[in-house]
Amino acid sequence: MNILLKQNLPRYAWQQQCYLSTSPIVHSWFVKLTNVTQVNTEAAVPKHTRKRNYPLTYEQRQFPKLIGHTKTWNTFNTSNLRDGKRKAEIVSDDLFLRQFIYGTWHSLFVSELIIKRRHNMVILSGLVTRTIHPRRMYFLIGYTEEILSALLKTPVKMEIQTVENKEDVIFTYW
């Protein structure tokens, strides 16, 4: 069982390190001994690569700690306001929608799917590359709108924007 070393105070307020590993590690008072693979990792915060060639879009570069400051959520609905209804259903619908779009539009979306809910309508937005002919894109749009409306029983609309290729949305290399 590991003891929390009080001398190793967390440097930043949000950095809570949980020492939950059960492997026998020798205690040390001077060197911070932690399970490197499990701590020091945060959700959606990539570590620098050796060659610094891991591409990040602008949205991915804004790490989750900035949500609410310089970054917004990817879904807009009123379920979390006072008297908001259907919180759980909306969240699960969102997860389903993201997976559906990911699977139907094969490597076409280069941004996260933005889901907006207005009255009973669901509006999906995002950036799409121009790899396929507009004919095929409209086929996909018609298909997605129709089948998602039938699944969710609400009108679903798509409002997409196109981008020349994936490199256009890469903001930096990490």
Binding site: E89, N120, R130, P134, R135, R136, M137, Y138, F139, L140, I141, G142, Y143, T144, E145, E146, I147, S149, A150, L151, L152, K153, T154, M158, E159, I160, Q161, T162
Partner: protein, 694 residues
């Protein structure tokens, strides 16, 4: 602050205060009142694409062909989704909507059991799902098995059979397809008066059967439905015999039947007077049976009058009908006006003098909000514009109609793409012939390309218009418009536009274009060359193979080389192959030479020389002269001599000018001068001999 309060009290005390206060009553509004009021603030705007398209430059269609393609692809996607919904229907039954939305559910699949042991509810379900023929089958089965079917059900089934002519009703098209329904449903294009009623069909069988067992009220319904069906599908002889039967059996005729009867008058009687007499008699009958006519009745009367073209009494009677309508308290709908227009202007020549159209427009502009009241309403705008442009040739009137169209949401009264295309074609053909650019071009910009994609005739008229009015600023813009609207490709039909446009650029009778414009024109010529590469066929294949052989010999094996060659050939075949002729080459040279583009012009000239046998037309004088002056400027003496020899061969009159031009060049070596003299001696052209050569 206190002073302000004092002022406020003072003002209210001096004003006359009402002694009693009435609460304003709550105005009952429909659930969509807010949406409707927002809708009234929005007009048709030519700046963005139709609602069904995505608002992104890659996905906005500009030419008519693209619009159709993309709309139908979207409809095709929806159909694919529908197929999946029906195939995997078990996944689509979880419902969260209150009230539930039926169109989001899979279509009802009938159990086998329901067909084996039919029941009245099966019949109702089948009828609700538009499966009328199957319903009749099951009805027959019910009779066999002696299962009781209620009268209401039987008569409902009979009505449906009459309405749909013993067939299943057509599937409702998706809105994207509906816009193109004229092309998709070829049946609509066939003659509207051809007899399509099915003889001895299911409807007739059922009629015979039910006739035997009907009570008197049921008989009324039975006979009326049957006659209406017969008249709807234009089987007039049988309809008249049934009507005689009804009259003998004193079965009263219904309003719907009367409407259909009046509408089919032109099939029953031949001469115009007889037709009108028949209509009047029918209306008298209606009055005697105290049946109030409705809008459809009057529209049918007007329709019948319209089917009597060039009837002298026609206009008078039409006005009388309109009066009658107003007396009955029925407002004429757009459909009535559409018929009136066709009565007053029956063909392309007649009707120039009447002021009917302006009067109609006056009437309509008073109406606050147009509503769709009758199935004929969709013809109004098309007819109005057609007559205004072809008969009246009145620009003000045409613009007035167009302004009226743009008010509010009146654009929904042009129900399909075909009519809209013709509407705008008529409008612009008139405007291009008669009006001035300052007024036409803004209108053109507002409509093209999102609302209207012009056809080739209109584009030709536009080019004519621009050349007449010499709107030089628009020339270059016109090129990008032509590209956008899909008129620049290798098809033979679009060749005329390309030729016409290039001759527009080249014409010199409106003054010399500025250097900026010369550069832009040369750019256009280069774009054409890039789009439609110049190489003739044998050279292409050889070129392709040698290219591959030399460049990739080290890396690839033989098999891969051949594959590469084949692929190259295939892509060359797929690339647009524009048939170059001498005319086109001359035009391109005329555009490139003034801009000092030596390589391009010379390569065109050489292409002409090498393919002289296969090309139609030769290079014309203007192009050769401009090429010569370019060669002169660049001091490419040998090339210049070559050009002069070609001029000599073709025996153009400009040989004299050509010789003179080269003569004046100070840097000409003696050898070249000798050469010029020999050409002059040998040439057969008159003017050449008049030139004094040094």
């Amino acid at each position: 602050m206190l002073l302000r309060l004092f002022h406020r009290c003072a003002s209210t005390s001096t004003a006359a205060r009402p002694t009693n206060f009435t609460f304003p009553q709550r105005i009952e509004r429909s659930p969509t009142a807010i949406l409707e009021s927002l809708n009234s603030c929005v007009q048709t705007d030519g700046g963005n694409p139709a609602y069904m398209f995505m608002d992104d430059p890659f996905l906005i269609p500009t030419s008519a062909y693209e619009k159709r393609q993309l709309a139908l692809s979207k409809a095709s996607g929806k159909k694919a989704a529908r197929w999946i919904i029906d195939r995997y229907s078990y996944a689509f039954f979880h419902d969260v909507a209150v009230p539930s939305i039926p169109s989001y559910f899979p279509t009802y699949t009938f159990d086998e059991k329901e067909f084996i042991e039919p029941d009245e509810s099966t019949l109702y379900k089948l009828m609700n799902w538009n499966k009328v023929t199957k319903a009749h089958e099951i009805y027959k089965k019910c009779l066999e098995y002696k299962i009781d079917v209620s009268d209401a059900c039987k008569y409902a089934l009979f009505d449906l059979l009459c309405i749909y002519n013993s067939e299943n009703p057509l599937e409702a098209l998706l809105p994207e397809e509906d816009w193109y329904r004229r092309e998709l449903n070829e049946k609509n294009q066939s003659n509207l008066t051809s007899r399509t009623w099915k003889e001895n069909g299911l409807a007739e069988q059922m009629f015979e059967e039910l006739k035997l067992s009907a009570t008197s009220e049921q008989k009324i319904r039975l006979y009326n439905s049957f006659v209406s069906g017969l008249l709807k599908y234009n089987h007039v002889e049988k309809a008249m015999t049934i009507i005689d039967e009804m009259k003998q059996a004193t079965i009263p005729i219904d309003l719907t039947t009367y409407n259909y009867l009046i509408r089919s008058t032109s099939l029953i009687k031949e001469s115009y007077d007889q037709r009108w007499q028949f209509v009047v008699d029918t209306l008298k009958e209606m009055k005697d049976s105290s049946i109030q006519p409705n809008l459809r009745t009057f529209n049918s009367v007007l329709y019948t009058l319209r089917r009597c073209p060039a009837y002298e009494q026609g206009p008078k009677l039409a006005l009388a009908v309109l009066n009658e309508m107003r007396q009955c308290g029925i407002e004429p709908s757009l459909g009535s006006w559409a018929h009136v227009i066709m009565i007053f202007y029956p063909s392309d020549q007649i009707g120039f003098e009447t002021q009917m159209l302006p009067q109609i427009m006056d009437e309509l502009e008073k109406v606050a909000q147009l509503e769709w009241k009758d199935s004929d309403d969709g013809e109004f705008f098309f007819n109005a514009m057609f007559k205004a442009t072809v008969n009246c040739r009145d620009v003000e009137l045409a613009k007035r109609i167009h302004r009226f169209l743009m008010v509010g949401s009146n654009t929904r009264f042009i129900p399909d793409g075909f009519r809209e295309q013709l509407y705008y074609t008529n409008l612009f053909r008139l405007l291009f012939r008669v009006d001035m650019p300052e007024q036409v071009m803004p209108l053109w910009e507002s409509v093209v390309p999102n609302v209207y994609s012009p056809s080739m005739n209109v584009m030709e008229d536009l080019i004519e218009f621009i050349s007449t009015w010499n709107i030089q600023d628009y020339y270059v813009r016109l090129w990008s418009d032509l590209l956008m609207l899909g008129f620049i490709d290798s098809r033979q039909t679009n060749r005329r536009i390309l030729d016409r446009y290039l001759s527009l650029l080249i014409q010199t009778n409106h003054g010399k274009p500025s250097t900026e414009q010369i550069k832009q024109y040369a750019n256009i010529a280069r774009q054409i060359l890039k789009r439609f590469p110049l190489e003739p066929e044998e050279v292409e294949q050889r070129f392709g193979s040698t290219n591959d052989a030399s460049a990739q010999q080290q890396e690839m094996t033989d098999g891969q080389q051949e594959q590469q060659q084949q692929q190259q050939q295939q892509t060359n075949q797929l690339r647009p192959k524009l048939q170059y002729d001498g005319h086109l080459l001359s035009n391109l040279i005329c555009l490139l030479a003034p801009a000092d583009d030596w390589e391009a012009s010379w390569s065109l000239y050489e292409h002409y020389l090498s393919n002289r046998s296969t090309l139609i037309n030769a290079l014309n004088e203007q192009s050769l002269m401009s090429l010569l002056s370019l060669a002169n400027r660049k001091n490419a003496i040998n090339s210049a001599l070559d050009i002069i020899e070609t001029i000599n061969e073709l025996q153009y009159e400009c040989l004299g000018d050509a010789l003179d031009l080269l003569n004046r060049n100070g840097n000409l070596p003696n050898q070249s001068r000798q050469h010029l003299k020999t050409i002059q001696k040998k040439s057969k052209v008159e003017s050449a001999h008049h030139v004094k050569l040094v």
